[in-house]
Every structure is written in C-alpha cells, then in structure tokens.
Subunit: 208 residues, 2 copies
Amino acid sequence: MAQTPLAQDEFRPASTAGEARRLQILDIAARHFRTRGYAAVSMRDIATEAGMRTPSLYYHFPSKDDLVIAVMDRGIAVVRETVAAALDALPPDAGAKPRLVTALRAHLHALHSLSDYTSANVRIFGQLPEALRRANLPERRAYQAIWSELLAPTCAAEQSRLPERVAIFIGAMNATLEWVDPARTDLEALADHLAQVLLDRLLEDVGA
Amino acid sequence: MAQTPLAQDEFRPASTAGEARRLQILDIAARHFRTRGYAAVSMRDIATEAGMRTPSLYYHFPSKDDLVIAVMDRGIAVVRETVAAALDALPPDAGAKPRLVTALRAHLHALHSLSDYTSANVRIFGQLPEALRRANLPERRAYQAIWSELLAPTCAAEQSRLPERVAIFIGAMNATLEWVDPARTDLEALADHLAQVLLDRLLEDVGA
DNA sequence: GTCTATAGGGAGATAGAC
DNA sequence: GTCTATCTCCCTATAGAC
C-alpha cells in the first residue's frame, strides 16, 4: 500500500535533482499500475499527477515501454533484496523450515505493504505484450534462484520437481494480492496461514 | 488449450442458428482474451476472426462489456460444473482428502485443457474495471461455496480461517496458469504435485 | 525541463442502406 | 444479419518554441 519515503530511499539514494524527478515519476507510475493495471494507465494520467504535461514525460523516459520496464525490474529487485536481507538476519545454523517461513513473510511484506513496484509487477506482468514480459525475465530468474535454494530440502529425492515447486510457492504467495483485503492489518497472520497450508499437513486421516 | 466441440456442447445445446452464431463469437472472444488479455483484444479482432465486420458484432452483443461479462460468467460456470460432476462421481463415503484431490484435478483440467472460458476468466479478471469485476462476483461466490465445503474438515477448530483458506487454494491453483508450459502433456503430474504441496507435510524436521 | 500544438492511429460505438 | 461510412474520443509520440 502506501510507501513510506524511508522504505523507498532504503533501496536507492537519489543523488541529483534530475534523478529525484525520475524516481518520483516511477513512484507515481508504479502506484497507478498497481491499482489500475497496465493498459488502463495512460502517460497522461502519470504526467498529470506529477504536475506536468504529457510530452514532458518523454524528456525523462523515451517511451511508455521504457517506463514500465523500469517499474517491473525494480519490483523484482525490491522483493529479492527484502527476502535476502531477512535471510541474512537469521542465525547461520537456521534450519530449512524457519528459513522458508522467514522468506515467505518477507515476500508477503514486500508485496502487500512495502512496495508498489513489487505489487505492480505481480499485478501487470500477465497484461504485458510478450516483448516486455521477456525483458523482466532475467530479474525474475535471479529471484527464483533464492527460492530454489530454500525449497531444495523439500524435494529430497526428486530434485527434478524443484522448478515446478518454486513456481507453485511464488504463485501461491503472489495470488494473495488478488483477494486479500487491502485494509487488512494482520499481515503476520496471513503469512502464518500460508506457511501452514504450504508446509504442514492439513489432514490427519489419509485414507479413502 | 483447444476446446473440443464436444466439451463445449456438453454445457450448452445451441438450439437456434442465431444462438449458434452468438456462441461462436463467444468462443472466439474467450480464446483471444485467454491468450492476449482484455484491453489488447479489440472488437475488430473478434469480428475479423468470426468472418464479419466490426459493426455486425453489435447486433449480437450491445457492447464489449456485455461480451466480456458473458465470457467471464461462463468461465466460472464451466469450472464449477466440472468440479461438481467429478465429486458426484465419487462414492458417497469418500473421505475429505480424496474429495480434495478429485476437485483439484478437475479444477486444473477445466483451467488448462477443457475451457478457454475458465482460463480467460482467471487471466483477465484482474485487468477488468471494477464494475465488470463486480458483475462476476456472484458466480465466483457460488464456486467458492464448493471449496468451503471441501476445506471445512481441514480447519477443524478454527472455522474462521476457512474463507482465507479457500482463497489460498483457489489462488494457488489458478496461479499455475501463468507459468506452466502450455505444451505440457502431463497434467496429472502437475495436479499430484500441487496436491502434495497443499495437503502433505513437506519437511520432516520442524525444529529451528 | 517544460511547454503548446499537433500528427497519426486505433479504439468503441452509431446511422442507415440492403 | 451484415454491410459501408462515419463519429467521437483518447492514446503514444514528435516538433519546435521558450
């Protein structure tokens, strides 16, 4: 939802004034993409909220494609850095399950309350023309690598299923964006619930 | 992917010739929405593939909104009827887990190989303006009711978590649309994998 | 850096002939 | 039922002054 200036600056010190303007435009674009989708947001919408006319945007970004690619790449970068930082804060001997729960919490935090970039990415990835989706794939693959490592211990004997399991986990976490109440306060409870579903056995009786 | 005429007619006998034309247009629209998203598909695209000019479409549907609502509602109706039929085919004394696995398989089947309507619904729901999304909610709630019943036994002492758990399950199943290889032949294996992740314990050691 | 003016195209939709 | 012709609107993007 709302990004605190702190949460934003954490990931990118804006040195020059020109750079600050560029980041301001990106912030506005990410927020609009997140709430209204890709095609529904026009360059005019973004310009208006930035207090300028449409053509002025083209001084900062050569095209709408370039703007949306910048938003998409930052979206993955933020969640990757958030998850990596949370994992680094764990004791070095932490087991597979606490590491998974920690990563899951960090991912949901980035997605739901930290970054409009991450939620915009999840929201509009499927709406982009194929060329723009492809541009985001390197970032996505780098993030998936983290979850490959986290989930490897759960695929003990069958590492061939690992890529699909990574996709199931990331897909399940991202899907919470579509139905969770935006006014929800207890993100911790959602994370715990998701961890329970994905990591624990839900039923005792396994017979027919 | 491809819909067999059989799979389509199963859910709607087209009595008159006019009705058949209407259904043909809906089929084309669903297939395009499924592959290219909502905003990217124009009335012209649909008309061209139906072998007519754009204005002729407006004889069958008063607006693009009406057309897309018809596709969306059918998308949920198909998956609901598919899952309900699969559950009805089970022995009456089937336990909670086999019922869940059966429903999960039927859902993935409708989503991945039976119906362009269901996959279009999942794909474009998040792209629609709020008014169109709201129009699809009654259908969605009717479908969620099935999963509420299926998942109730997994929420033994805490039925308050049931709605969220329903959303987690449906979200996780639907998320497979975004990353699964369209040429994938072994849908059974995907369903089994998803069932394992959602229903079984993935890790033995639960310590820190 | 931002502006006014505008090009150029595609969208949804309507009028009215056939 | 389908057509041609057209309206209106909004989009991305560019030209060129300031």
